[in-house]
């Protein structure tokens, strides 16, 4: 019997698609809805977008979020790249510990690491706010970045760096012209991914934000607590488009970068090589 064509599989797929896409479609449609209570279609308008873009709370929220996302992405890349450089020369034991720490940061529920950081910062009298949020985001963001950069590093033939040295390149020039150049697609992809994760984070931000500095996702959360307006739909669609674009870029850059040297990259595994 063909499992894929069984009526049960078909109805589950349909439900998944429905629950995944229907809310998104509703959000998209309502963002252009003139009717404030959104009970029905009241005609087309872009009024809510104007409102959203001029809302001072939204604007400062967006600024805060962008600052956090950029800072956290850059910090995560610095950790991931230097970690990957160390990783390839480390002993198997040290590698296992390092990998374990990466997976721990991904598996650990976000609320746990956020609470832990919250208490830690209180204990050491570290002021909650922007820096605290950046550190909190970097905890898991650096783990995702490390996995992507390391996968590319593993495919890098060490003979390439020897070849560069053999051709007269100093260690710094070798790093720039060979190692970094080979890692670049992974670095860009990891950076975009980290930026996106940070951009729509709520949990860590709520715990660590302190008195002011509310990032956009937390602003949105606050808004729907009081009233649901079509303005939120407009913000939602804009955020959605932005993050989807970034993610697509990350995937595209990584996919078109091609394989390295002898062992290839993560996508080769995906292709079943």
């Amino acid at each position: 019997m063909n499992v894929r064509r069984h009526p049960f599989a078909a109805s589950v797929s349909l439900l998944v698609l429905l629950f995944l896409w229907l809310p998104l479609i509703v959000v998209a449609v309502n963002s252009f809805n003139q009717q404030t209570i959104m009970a029905g279609w009241g005609g087309f308008t872009t009024h809510w977008y104007g409102l959203a873009l001029h809302d001072q709370n939204v604007r400062t929220g967006l600024e805060t979020t962008l600052y956090i996302a950029v800072a956290s992405a850059l910090l995560s890349l610095a950790i991931a790249v230097s970690g990957a450089l160390w990783w390839r020369r480390a002993s198997p034991k040290a590698r296992a510990v390092y990998d374990g720490l990466i997976y721990a940061r991904i598996i650990l529920p976000e609320v746990v690491s956020a609470t832990a950081l919250f208490f830690l910062f209180l204990k050491i009298h570290f002021t909650l706010g922007l820096t605290a949020i950046v550190i909190g985001h970097t905890v898991w963001n650096s783990a995702y970045a490390a996995i992507i950069v390391q996968a590319r590093m593993a495919g890098l033939d060490p003979a390439l760096e020897e070849a560069a040295a053999d051709l007269g390149a100093t260690p710094w020039r070798t790093f720039r012209r060979v190692t970094f150049a080979a890692l670049l697609p992974a670095i860009i992809a990891a950076g975009l991914l980290a930026f996106t994760f940070s951009f729509d984070d709520v949990v860590t931000s709520v715990f660590l934000q302190g008195a002011s500095n509310t990032p956009l996702p937390v602003v949105i959360l606050g808004m729907i607590r009081f009233r649901i307006t079509p303005e939120i739909n407009a913000i939602g669609l804009l955020v959605m488009l932005f993050t989807v674009t970034l993610m697509s870029m990350a995937v595209l850059i990584y996919a078109t970068a091609g394989s390295l040297g002898r062992r290839g990259n993560m996508l080769d595994i995906y292709r079943g090589r």
Binding site: A159, L160, E162, A163, A165, L167, G168, A169, R262
Partner: protein
């Protein structure tokens, strides 16, 4: 006396407890096609990597062109390497791969262009300058690797099994091309391979290594016909060996008593003393098979024959000498299996090896 292209003096290399190369003395002359051969793990690649500067000798000294290379980093050495995996830069096209060394040496733009064009023409890859390495065949990649190294006009070109990844036909073509190329550019080549046929066909001189020790250095003919040890004799071809004892020295020849068949004459290295235990070596192609039993009274019966095209390998069993291998011409009728044949060899075709080496 001119400076050697490469002078390796009392070099030892240890990795922890493992001694990869021990007490190595080697001199490579300018303009020479020099090969180092040996089984995997014999220390040949380590030796090459020490000349390139990727490994430092634990003790001893390496000079290139008369200059001591101790403490000189790979990017400051006047040598270039062709890697076994080619190690072409995947993110650069053929032109930029070849130009890599020139750009590091801050060569002017116009000169980079002329020299890269020359190098690309030398390896017949005109028109592929803008291709990425992965768009090229194995043989083409190999030639890019050669051009990338030669364009820097190194004093010595180091080649680490550069033909290992190619199929047999292409490998044979590339051997001819490499030899022609080396003659035309006049650069000293130091070539590492485990394939003795490859080394013999191209090299002026060959060094044979085993377990980190240099066994013998010489022309391919010397190494094949006058091996210094049992290991060398086996590594570069098949050898029939008979145990014996030196009975006397007559000019450049030795009288030797071979166990089971008595006194014969053979050539050997200088300095063997009367009474010394030796192995007598006869190459399969020098064992002559006769229809009738020879004058020495030696005979054998044919165990098996294998047809290889130009020649035939004949496995024999002799009551006095045991298992033997002979080579016969591939044309004509093969010796019949089980038949009895006479055996003989010319005195000049028998070569002595000191039996002290027989254990290795």
């Amino acid at each position: 006396m001119t400076d050697a292209a490469v002078d390796i003096s009392r070099v030892e290399k240890r990795f922890g407890d493992l001694v990869a190369v021990r007490d190595l003395d080697l001199r490579i002359e300018p303009g020479e096609f020099f090969s180092i051969i040996g089984p995997s793990g014999c220390g040949k690649t380590t030796t090459l990597r020490m000349i390139a500067g990727f490994e430092d000798p634990t003790t001893g000294r390496i000079s290139v062109g008369g200059r001591d290379m101790t403490g000189v980093r790979p990017y400051r050495r006047p040598v270039n390497t062709v890697f076994q995996s080619y190690a072409l830069f995947p993110h650069l096209d053929v032109f930029e791969n070849v130009a890599f060394g020139l750009r590091e040496a801050k060569v002017g733009r116009a000169e980079v262009r002329t020299r890269v064009d020359e190098a690309v023409a030398l390896v017949q890859l005109q028109g592929r300058e803008r291709s990425r390495p992965r768009q090229l065949s194995g043989g083409q990649q190999q030639r890019v690797a050669l051009a990338r190294a030669l364009v820097n006009r190194p004093e010595v070109l180091l080649l680490d099994e550069p033909l290992g990844a190619l199929d047999l036909k292409l490998r044979t073509d590339m051997q001819t091309q490499l030899k022609d190329l080396q003659r035309s550019v006049g650069v000293t080549f130091c070539y590492v391979t485990h394939d003795q046929g490859e080394a013999f066909s191209m090299s002026d001189r060959v060094a044979v290594m085993n377990h980190g020790l240099l066994e013998q250095v010489g022309t391919p003919e010397e190494i094949y016909h006058r091996p210094a040890s049992s290991f060398v004799a086996d590594f570069v071809g098949t050898a029939n060996r008979f145990a014996g004892r030196v009975e006397g020295v007559e000019a450049d020849r030795y009288a030797v008593a071979i166990d089971g068949i008595g006194r014969r004459t053979a050539r050997g290295p200088a300095g063997l003393e009367s009474g010394a235990a030796v192995l007598v070596l006869v190459r399969p192609e020098n064992l002559v098979l006769n229809g009738s039993v020879g004058d020495g009274g030696l005979d054998a019966h044919v165990v098996d024959t294998a047809f290889l095209g130009a020649e035939r390998t004949v496995r024999l069993h002799s009551p006095k000498l045991g298992e033997l291998t002979a080579t016969a011409r591939g044309s004509g009728e093969p010796p019949e299996q089980g038949s009895r044949v006479g055996l003989s060899w010319a005195d000049d075709d028998a070569w002595l090896i000191p039996a002290a080496d027989a254990a290795s």
